[in-house]
Symmetry: C2
Subunit: 161 residues, 2 copies
DNA sequence: GATGAAAGGACTAAACC
DNA sequence: GGTTTAGTCCTTTCATC
């Protein structure tokens, strides 16, 4: 069940990433396909797992979360971190990563006291480092299918990475 | 134009964060409101900016992006970083944060060579530290309106944060 | 906010290219 | 694999309670 995504699929994915509530009829108009054709393509993209879902995005500030933060956390027993992360509603994203810090965790909290409450639970497991998000420059970027030929070779003016 | 979100709104937000393609009729059934009532509430949530959009989520691996990474970057001229971030399609999220590292940037790339290409552009501006995402434990968590009374006071077994 | 009626539009399936 | 047609269903909108 692997995937060849053609130009039509690419346009469909772009439109649905920009507005998930488009009707199939409107989507068809935008990508210049008939309604049955787009419906079938979207169904295939869903069943192949290319499209994993449709989500409303919300303004966390308007929901009362005044602070967003990125927490880095060191090594700890994997299962314990997972359990904590899964049982903490303030966690928006949680990644297990390579490097000295094993975890990158994004949270949304009401205020500093709330931040303290959430961070303290984590730092009972391992050392942490918390950075408050000042400004979101780019978020939830729509992604097109990867094309190897778009990749430019690395050009390095400095020597380190 | 500020917002009091009651129990109905909270349920509506939960349903639409879980499935943005719900019809108003189905949404009404689920939250036990009539179609016109939910339609009006959703319209208000949109115009108040609580709901900021509706997005299809995609499987980046299936789109050909074999590697996701979190890059931390140090201080650099703000405008130059913004310009680079905005012109780099591999950037999924980019945050300006407090702390020694000024930037946390999430990217999706095809392979190690591609990773090198993207990282090298950034480290021409400032020092960077790249961590590859091994596993996504939690992602795009649905968020309910914040409720101060749910916040537990911090309990600290260790002494540091 | 609910109900009910009317109109418009969207989805499904079939036949055809 | 896409298009067109036809039929059915659903959604949306409006007026009324």
């Amino acid at each position: 069940m692997n995937i060849e995504l053609d130009a039509h699929d690419t346009r469909i994915l772009a439109e649905l990433q920009a507005d998930a509530r488009l009707t199939m009829a409107e989507l068809g108009r935008r990508v210049h396909l008939s309604q049955p054709a787009v419906t079938e393509r979207v169904r295939k993209l869903e069943s192949c797992g290319v499209i994993t879902g449709y989500r409303a995005t919300v303004d966390l500030t308007k929901l009362g979360y005044g602070i967003r933060a990125v927490i880095r956390a060191g090594r700890a027993e994997y299962a314990r971190v997972v359990k904590l992360v899964m049982s903490t509603p303030e966690v928006v994203n949680a990644y297990n990563v390579t490097g000295e810090d094993s975890w990158v965790i994004e949270i949304a909290v009401i205020d500093v006291a709330h931040l303290d409450s959430v961070v303290s639970k984590l730092c009972n497991l391992t050392e942490t480092s918390t950075a408050i998000i000042l400004n979101t420059v780019r978020e939830h970027q729509s992604m097109a299918p990867a094309r190897q030929e778009n990749v430019k070779p690395a050009v390095r003016k400095r020597r380190s990475a």
